[in-house]
């Protein structure tokens, strides 16, 4: 895209079993920008993310990553995008280095020893070298997926629930990496439920609820428009949270 847009969803609709799970979403991430997509479970975030690599096709509207339409050219989209799914997809019977070698072979990426060392060290995976991935925790498996994207260094990043399962230091590393990538011109779209992290890392936030984008802006703009000092309050108000829920759980806690 010559207009500096890395990822663009234009009036995207998606139906599963007759139910619309994505309803006319418009979303744009420019190169050099980090956009955070916030929303409750089942709001359509992962469906949108999968569209970026042609894994899910929109029923209406269009998706573009760089100059590529993932619907018609999924192979190019997958080469262009660094996608980390919500649940790490790995080969449990491979060791970390074997898994990374396989992925780098598929992407045709040559990586230097120093780069591999740096990524492995930064994500705290050193102690797991030599183990089968099946022996690693969920968080460590996620780190392996993130490591594969870090090694490739793509221009477009789509990171689904990227902070979930990460320990504090790894979350800091990933946050720094995301900001650094954006500062060097990458387009980054992430989703997370960790609002303080979202607030720190985001240039722009989109809040999605029941398949629709219900608010968009910088963290500051969102707080100002809704007259709140906390992003959490903004989020809860826009996603149908009710104080009644708190009363219900208070009643449950009897001791």
């Amino acid at each position: 895209m010559s207009d500096g847009v890395g990822i663009e969803y234009s009036n995207v609709w998606k139906y599963f079993g007759g139910n619309a799970v994505v309803k006319g979403v418009n979303l744009r991430v420019r190169y050099g920008e980090v956009k955070v997509l916030l929303g409750p479970n089942g709001s359509g975030k992962s469906t949108l993310f999968k569209m970026s690599v042609g894994l899910v096709k929109p029923d209406r509207g269009s998706v573009r990553v760089g100059d590529v339409d993932p619907v018609t050219d999924a192979l190019s989209a997958r080469r262009l995008v660094g996608y980390v799914p919500e649940d790490p997809l790995v080969y449990e019977s491979l060791e970390i280095t074997e898994f990374l070698s396989f992925l780098m072979s598929v992407y045709g990426v040559e990586v230097s020893e120093s780069r591999v060392s740096a990524v492995i060290k930064a994500l705290g995976l050193e102690e797991h070298l030599g183990k089968l991935i099946g022996e690693l925790s969920h968080g460590s498996r996620k780190k392996v997926m993130i490591a594969s994207v870090m090694l490739r260094d793509p221009k477009v990043l789509v990171l689904d629930e990227v902070f979930s399962g990460l320990d504090v230091s790894s979350a800091r590393v990933v946050k720094t990496w995301i900001r650094e990538k954006a500062s060097k011109g990458a387009a980054v779209l992430i989703s997370t439920h960790v609002l303080p992290l979202a607030e720190v890392v985001a240039d722009g936030i989109s809040i999605i609820h029941e398949g629709r984008v219900v608010a968009e802006g910088t963290p500051q703009e969102l707080k100002e428009v809704l007259g709140s000092s906390e992003l959490e309050d903004v989020y809860l108000r826009l996603t149908g949270y009710s104080r009644e829920f708190e009363e219900l759980v208070k009643a449950l806690a009897t001791t």
Partner: protein, 533 residues
């Protein structure tokens, strides 16, 4: 047994079945339900009924020998039953125990407010009742009932019956305990190459024993009914664990005592190993599963290979760490020797041609095991920039890396023994290798078109869902076997059964044609660019 244990056992077996459903290690012969996603849980009846009937039939078939009142025939038939039941019990107990530990299900149980002995009871109840472990006893029950009848009518001695009872009890205990111990070691097996290959060969042998035993049990009567002498069995029979007493009592009381002590000692030793391993896992949890020393891989080992080579390398690594599927592949390669060994025995070159074609075709068809070995990792393939066709090609190439050299070796050796000519044998061996690649390409082109379009686990069940795909692949297998038999048969009918060069040319042409067809199918039949298309 409390209701709680029964309920917990059912939950446990269900959980193992569900996890196994993704890995295709459901109860052997358990009826597979058709739930919303093809899984509907286990029950005592579903997990035991089919296997109990089948094992009873084998048992009844073997018990035909009892009427002869021939103690040698009785000992041999009991040996066969014991052998097949041990193999079968291992096929039930080992995967169950392995899944309970590998998937951390044992840890779920340990979080409940129940004692370790209740955990043990739950595990055993789930294994025996809900997983079908108890059905293995049906190898023996009808046989023992028939034996009891013939003891009452005076055809069989009470000693034989009691010794058979001892043999079956010790065999069962041994196989259950060994299965438990092996199951707890599955993690170690996955980590150590030597153990993986040993396990793969053990699985292959287990499958072969089951195949062979099922097929020869019904022929026992005709094989041995005329003999009342032990012959060679006098030398080895008494020392065969568990069934040894049935032979040794025919030789001497001293040898009988020795046989009984040997069998009991093996059971006691296995009991301590099995019980010790299981108790440790129950007390310490699944963490106990990895008593291996981890050797750190250097980061320099992240070395990308050229695109297709990288995928083939991954396919091979994944398969070589799946001993059960590797074992199945070995069976596919060795099985043709078993079934084709006696055919065309009067025309050595035709016999060689048949084995060449059989080994090539069967080993090529085993490409499906590379798809099954993908398991949960297959989901990743949907996200990567890999063409669907390249997945099919990589599976064929990875299969051929294993099967082509073995096919070449088997066909060449067999032909050399039969025909005695090195050049002819090598020509047939090369044809077997080419056939292996050709059939793997054909089967791979068919399988890849039946993969789900959504990111999915790939296992045996994944590829059984599409009826049309199953039918086409079955047809290809029939054509493969048919052509392998038809070529030597036609040559024989044409009177060319001794024309070595013509037979070699015919087999070579068949191999070349298979390669061409396979390549064309990969090029033109594979639909869609990526797996999700």
């Amino acid at each position: 047994m409390g209701v709680t244990t029964l309920k917990l056992a059912r939950y446990l077996a269900n959980e193992v079945a569900y996890r196994g459903f993704r890995e295709q290690s459901l109860p052997f012969l358990g009826i597979r339900g058709r739930g919303s996603r093809g899984f509907s849980g286990v029950s005592v009846i579903k997990s035991n009924i089919l296997s109990s009937i089948l094992f009873s039939l084998v048992s009844i078939s073997a018990s035909a020998v009892v009427a002869l009142g021939n103690p040698v025939a009785y000992a041999v038939s009991a040996t066969i039953l014991a052998g097949v039941s041990i193999a079968m019990a291992l096929m039930y107990v080992t995967p169950f125990t392995s899944t309970v530990i590998r998937e951390g299900i044992i840890d779920l149980l340990r979080t409940l407010p129940i004692t370790p002995s209740q955990v043990l009871k739950t595990y055993l109840t789930a294994l025996m009742l809900y997983w079908g472990g108890l059905s293995v006893t049906f190898f023996y029950i009808p046989y023992l009932v028939v034996s009891t009848y013939y003891v009452l009518v005076g055809t069989l001695g009470i000693q034989e019956l009691l010794l058979a009872l001892l043999a079956f009890t010790t065999s069962l205990l041994f196989s259950y305990l060994l299965g438990i111990a092996l199951g707890t070691y599955s993690y170690v097996v996955r980590r150590r190459a030597v153990l993986r290959y040993v396990t793969a060969i053990a699985w292959a042998l287990t499958f072969l024993i089951v195949y062979l035993m099922f097929s020869i049990t019904s022929h026992i009567t005709t094989l041995i009914k005329s003999s009342t002498h032990l012959g060679m069995l006098e030398l080895v029979g008494p020392y065969i664990p568990f069934v040894g007493p049935l032979f040794s009592y025919l030789v001497s009381p001293q040898l009988l005592t020795l046989s009984v002590i040997e069998s009991l000692a093996i059971v006691v030793a296995t009991y301590f190993v099995g019980r010790g391993r299981l108790a440790s896992v129950i007390l310490h949890g699944a963490e106990y599963r990895v008593p291996t020393k981890v050797v750190k891989a250097p980061v320099t080992s992240v070395k990308p290979k050229p695109y297709l080579l990288g995928i083939v390398r991954k396919d091979l690594k994944v398969l070589l760490r799946e001993p059960r599927r590797l074992g199945s592949m070995i069976v596919m390669m060795v099985f043709p020797l078993v079934i084709g060994f006696t055919m065309f025995s009067k025309e050595p070159i035709l016999s060689s041609a048949l084995i060449t074609s059989f080994v090539g075709a069967f080993s090529g068809l085993s490409v499906e095991y590379l798809y099954y070995a993908e398991g949960s990792g297959a989901q990743l393939l949907y996200l990567l920039p890999i063409r669907k066709r390249d997945v099919a090609i990589s599976k064929s190439l990875a299969t051929s890396v294993i099967t082509s050299p073995i096919s070449l070796a088997i066909a060449t050796t067999f032909s050399l023994l039969k025909v005695g000519n090195v050049v002819t044998s090598l020509a047939l061996g090369t044809s077997a290798a080419a056939l292996s690649l050709g059939y793997s390409l054909i089967n791979s082109a068919l399988i890849i078109n039946s993969v789900p379009k959504e990111p999915s686990y790939w296992n045996e069940l994944t590829f059984r869902r599409s009826l049309s795909s199953r039918l086409v692949r079955t047809l290809v297998a029939i054509v493969g076997v048919g052509a392998s038999v038809a070529i030597p048969l036609i040559l024989m009918l044409m009177g060319l059964g001794n024309e070595v060069s013509k037979v070699v040319t015919a087999v070579g042409t068949y191999a070349l044609a298979t390669l061409v067809i396979g390549s064309l199918m990969i090029k033109y039949l594979v639909k869609g660019n990526v797996l999700s298309s």
